[in-house]
């Protein structure tokens, strides 16, 4: 609403320019004395001009005065940057969230630019740890431009944006990875490093899987708060749905809740989530061992070992069958059918791993049983192929012998005829 004050005269001036020169839309803000003068300055006085060229707000109706106020039509510095014209200078950290919210929290105004954009960022921000501390007057915590930058703001889907999926961990790291900066807050500073080593970080940053989560996918972006013990399985369950459903139905859900142990995190940790393996169940230090001990009456460690052994042996059987198919493949046989069956078996092994979260050994055993059947089928296919290979060689040997006998017999016959012709 306040923004209209700046935009109306601007719009008129733009319309005038467009009428005068309708064929060409200038790349920079039209007729802006801000750009004209600051473009002639150096260093930090000029930097905003350069980065603003690619800013999403660099469009008719917004521009410098949209945030900073003032009069961009006057080339008199005293007038263009006078308080009388609403000039506010550089807004401080404490003022920025409210300044941005003037437009971004106004649905009807945002509709005129980008109707698809939510307008709840500011209200969410106020609930976040960042927002609350900002309200309290802490200038060190993140506000809008800490993450989005001040003059080079790009939409989150733009790969060059500081809040693009693949860039967001670096953006968060710029504060959260800096132990001296974070010193007053008494929280760890290794989250981002841990995240980068995790399955999620590797998938997003190395394998370009944009579906893999970045910091904000679990913590929220504007409403950034660490998920607590009660909500963590919902957060993980966004993607790992079956694991969540299995876990919530299991006896563990209640006990974890009583013990105030966070659901997924207790076994999988938080930022450094590694690709889970059966060693978590049956290794030297099984994660179950955090609470369970041998002969504790629940049979938990034994059940864990059983689940691990079934999954391991199914995966070994799959690898073994695959090896046989490869052997057949190298002999020039067609193994596609076998590979197709194995793909199914692999899916079963996958489901069996998920079924671990029921903490019922039976459900894992049942799931692997179906997988073993498919492995047996694949092995059959491989055996048939290899038998076929032997059949080919035997058939060839017999045919070659037959052909050569006939060839020799003919040759002998010719010799006979020749010797007869001589007589």
């Amino acid at each position: 609403m306040q923004a209209y004050k700046y935009t109306h005269p601007l719009l008129i001036s733009i319309i005038l320019v467009l009428v005068g020169n309708s064929t060409r839309l200038p790349a920079q803000e039209i007729q802006s004395t801000c750009i004209e003068c600051h473009g002639l300055l150096e260093d930090e006085m000029k930097a905003p001009v350069d980065s603003f060229a690619n800013d999403v707000h660099n469009r008719p109706g917004l521009g410098c005065v949209g945030c900073h106020g003032g009069d961009n039509t006057s080339d008199d510095m005293l007038e263009s940057m006078s308080e009388a014209k609403g000039f506010i200078g550089t807004p401080g950290a404490l003022a920025i969230p409210e300044l941005c919210s003037k437009c971004h929290a106004d649905p009807s105004y945002m509709k005129t630019f980008n109707p698809g954009l939510p307008t709840d960022q500011y209200s969410k921000y106020l609930t976040s740890v960042h927002g609350q501390k900002n309200e309290e007057g802490d200038t060190m915590v993140a506000h809008c431009s800490s993450c989005h930058s001040a003059h080079g703001i790009r939409p989150a889907r733009n790969p060059l944006s500081s809040v693009y999926d693949k860039n967001i961990s670096a953006t968060c790291a710029s504060c959260h990875n800096d132990s001296s900066y974070m010193a007053p807050y008494d929280i760890p500073t290794d989250q981002v490093e841990d995240y980068r080593k995790s399955v999620h970080g590797a998938a997003l940053l190395e394998d370009d899987d944009l579906g893999a989560p970045a910091c904000n996918d679990c913590h929220g972006n504007h409403g950034a708060i660490p998920p607590d013990a009660e909500s963590i399985d919902k957060v993980c369950g966004l993607c790992h749905n079956n694991n969540m459903v299995d876990f919530e139905k299991s006896t563990h859900a209640d006990y974890f809740s009583v013990l105030e142990s966070p659901a997924c995190e207790t076994c999988h940790s938080n930022h450094l989530i590694e690709a889970p393996g059966t060693e978590m169940l049956s290794g030297e230090e099984p994660v179950c061992g955090q609470c369970h001990f041998e002969d504790d009456g629940t049979g938990a460690l034994e059940a864990a070992k059983l689940m691990a052994s079934r999954i391991d042996s199914l995966e070994n059987a799959i690898a073994e069958a695959e090896g046989r198919l490869e052997e057949a493949d190298q002999k020039g046989l067609f193994v596609n059918n076998g590979l197709f069956v194995l793909k199914d078996a692999r899916q079963r092994a996958f489901k069996a791993r998920t079924a671990v979260h029921t903490f019922q050994a039976d459900s894992v055993v049942n799931m692997t049983a179906a997988g073993f059947e498919q492995v047996a089928e694949a092995r059959n296919i491989a055996r048939e192929l290899l038998d076929n290979y032997v059949f080919r060689r035997k058939g060839l040997a017999i045919s070659v012998v037959v052909l050569l006998i006939l060839a020799v017999a003919i040759w002998v016959k010719v010799k006979r005829i020749e010797s007869r012709q001589k007589h």
Binding site: G332, F334, R393, V400, L403, L404, L406, V408, Q421
Partner: protein, 362 residues
């Protein structure tokens, strides 16, 4: 031998209608010279036999093959995986194709070095050259038909060469490919060429070739020219030589079968026209010496583009080679004759060296 009186009624029936007796007369008098190098007389027969294998296995492959960009690769995979002995048919067709070209070359050079192309056999040589060109056309068009990655890019590289021909190159390239680039249209075209146009032409020229061989008899070596008739030894063509031919053919058939079982041809991955060309794409071995030569020629020779120069040089060479019977046809000019022997040896060495280089160099 039995005399005609005791022959069966059946024979008489056919003899009266087909005049078999005159054929028998002809066959009885047909002879093959017998000397140290008689083995070369088998090369032509082996090439013919391999061609017959090609026709038979090709017809069988046609039962299941589907020639379009969407189905070609899948149908070949189907032949190799689902159809009983389909793998054998495809491997035999591929191996026998390669051996046929090999034996055609052997046959040609044996004719060349024994100077069997001289009067009156110039036309036999000419028809033979045409058959060789057609065979290479068979090989080139057939290579694309499985529509796998290797074939796709080899065809691309191979047809690119056609585009370098001066003046007619561009339209010729488009005519050959059926479009600007190698596409499904090229596959349809090559399929048609491979199973209809080339077989038709081949049948015409192979008939001419064989009729000429029968009309003119089998060539005698140069060294027999001044030999007294009693020192010239002959083997009857029928039944001796034809039976020996048959025995050799059986050995060749066993060899083709063994190669097919022990060295099956890979199918690879389906051609993707938009994929980047894989490393080390090369044409088939019988084009390698030309391919390698073109790679060695600098980018510009005497003011024209290297590739164009190379192709023109090959064209001139091929024309000279084709008309060798007319250039070297005088029995009394020994120096000219020796020059052609020498040139032939140089060409054989050149082809061998460049084929090996082409195989091993990147």
């Amino acid at each position: 031998m039995n005399d005609a009186g005791s022959r069966s009624k059946l024979y008489r029936f056919f003899d009266e209608r087909l005049k078999l007796e005159s054929l028998r007369e002809f066959a009885a008098h047909k002879v093959v010279p017998s000397h140290r190098h008689s083995a070369v007389y088998y090369t032509g027969g082996i090439t013919l036999f391999l061609f017959i294998i090609q026709v038979c296995s090709g017809i069988l492959l046609l039962m299941y093959y589907k020639g379009s960009a969407e189905t070609a690769f899948e149908s070949v995979r189907y032949i190799m995986s689902e159809v009983q002995f389909g793998w054998l048919m495809r491997d035999i067709h591929s191996w026998s194709a390669n051996l046929m070209i090999l034996f055609a070359f052997l046959h040609m050079f044996s004719v060349y070095f024994t100077k069997a192309y001289r009067f009156p056999r110039e036309l036999t040589w000419l028809s033979g050259i045409i058959l060789l060109v057609l065979s290479m056309g068979f090989g080139f068009s057939g290579y694309l038909l499985p529509w796998n990655e290797l074939a796709f890019f080899a065809t691309k590289v191979g047809t690119d060469m056609v585009g370098a021909v001066p003046l007619i190159g561009e339209p010729l390239l488009k005519l050959l490919r059926g479009s600007e680039d190698v596409t499904g249209a090229t596959l349809s075209r090559f399929f048609g060429i491979h199973v209809a146009i080339l077989p038709g032409l081949f049948m015409i020229f192979i008939s001419i070739h064989l009729i000429l061989v029968q009309r003119l008899g089998i060539s005698e070596p140069e060294s027999w020219r001044n030999l007294p008739p009693e020192r010239k030894k002959y083997t009857p063509f029928f039944p001796n030589f034809i039976l020996k031919d048959l025995a050799v053919w059986l050995v060749i058939l066993a060899g083709v079968a063994a190669l097919s079982v022990f060295f099956p041809w890979e199918l690879g991955t389906k051609a993707d026209p938009f994929a980047p060309a894989p490393q080390g794409i090369k044409p088939e071995w019988y084009f390698l010496f030309m391919y390698q030569t073109l790679k060695f020629i600098p980018s510009h020779v005497v003011g024209i583009e290297g590739e164009v120069f190379g192709i023109m040089a090959f064209a001139v060479g091929a024309i000279l080679w084709t008309f060798v019977p007319f250039l070297d046809n005088d029995r009394n000019r020994d120096r000219v004759s020796r020059f052609f022997n020498f040139a032939g040896i140089v060409i054989v060495i050149y082809i061998l060296v460049f084929t090996v280089l082409g195989h091993y160099l990147e």
